[in-house]
């Protein structure tokens, strides 16, 4: 901020280091905003801020993490308010995952994720997750970030990331299992192989 835009030296390396992450930031923007037009606005604003603040980037550190942080902060600033979310300690969330699995097994869906392509349902389910959980799932599961890296992007302790991630995964699984159940995708049904449209 406040940097003289006519100083060309400051932009050195921006095109080589920051621009290659454009697609990644675009994807992250889409997950945050859930709207293509808003996502492009956020993407553009993120890169404009990154360009203005390029002198604050520490060479040799992970540029994608830095860009995601700017993107996320820009997004938060544009929100009127953020709904607080409830979540439990990571260990309780981890144990709750066992209950989801048990439920899936008892309804004949123990192998649902390897048996059926749930791609569209996953995309849809991600958008339904409360924001705080979606952010954690997107960063760790889609973007492959570490707990530490995600914690840095979201500005929260690692323990909070674990809680939100585990809760987010569980909520997503519950949505997917409900979807699969409704769509008649459960196996082990007493009347034999399922048929569509029954």
């Amino acid at each position: 901020m406040g940097q003289d835009p006519s100083a060309p030296a400051a932009e050195t390396g921006f095109e080589e280091i920051a621009i290659p992450w454009l697609d990644d930031v675009a994807r992250f923007s889409r997950h945050l905003t859930k709207d293509p037009a808003d996502a492009e606005g956020l993407l553009q604003e993120t890169f404009l801020r990154a360009l203005r603040g390029w002198h604050t980037f520490t060479p040799g550190t992970e540029c994608r993490r830095w860009l995601f942080t700017i993107c996320r902060n820009t997004f938060i600033q544009g929100l009127q308010s953020r709904k607080p979310v409830a979540y439990d300690a990571p260990e309780l969330e981890a144990l709750a995952a066992a209950a989801v699995h048990a439920g899936a097994v008892s309804s004949g869906m123990g192998d649902i994720f390897s048996r059926i392509d749930l791609g569209d349902a996953i995309k849809c389910g991600l958008d339904k997750l409360p924001e705080a959980f979606r952010e954690a799932v997107v960063l760790v599961d889609l973007e492959g970030m570490s707990y530490e890296g995600s914690a840095q992007v979201l500005g929260v302790p690692v323990g909070t990331i674990r809680s939100r991630l585990f809760r987010g995964r569980r909520l997503l699984q519950e949505l997917l299992l409900a979807h699969a159940q409704d769509a008649g995708l459960a196996a082990n049904r007493s009347f034999g192989p399922l048929k569509e449209g029954t």
Partner: protein
């Protein structure tokens, strides 16, 4: 923590369940990773859940690739950046 030292069978199922996500995310120490791996390979209670969660994570990851950003978007962003001082 002696329990971390390759004694996979000494880990309780409860402890493995509590760290299953951390294990799948490879966020544990190498000792803990191998202890849990050893437990999972010999435990009929934990393995099915591990298999279920692993398939879930794979399915979620696969969504990322199917979602490329529009081609013209990059050009619009680059134009905005050049208008704002990018050489």
């Amino acid at each position: 923590m002696n329990e971390d030292a390759t004694m996979g069978k000494m880990l309780s199922c409860d402890k493995v369940m509590r760290q299953l996500w951390d294990y799948l995310d490879e966020e544990l120490t190498p000792e803990r990773m191998s202890a849990i791996a050893a437990h999972l390979s010999g435990c009929n209670r934990c393995f099915p859940q591990y298999d279920f969660e692993r398939a879930f994570l794979r399915a979620v990851r696969s969504v990322r690739e199917e979602n490329p950003p529009p081609a013209q978007q990059r050009e619009r962003v680059m134009a905005a950046l050049r208008a704002n001082g990018l050489p």
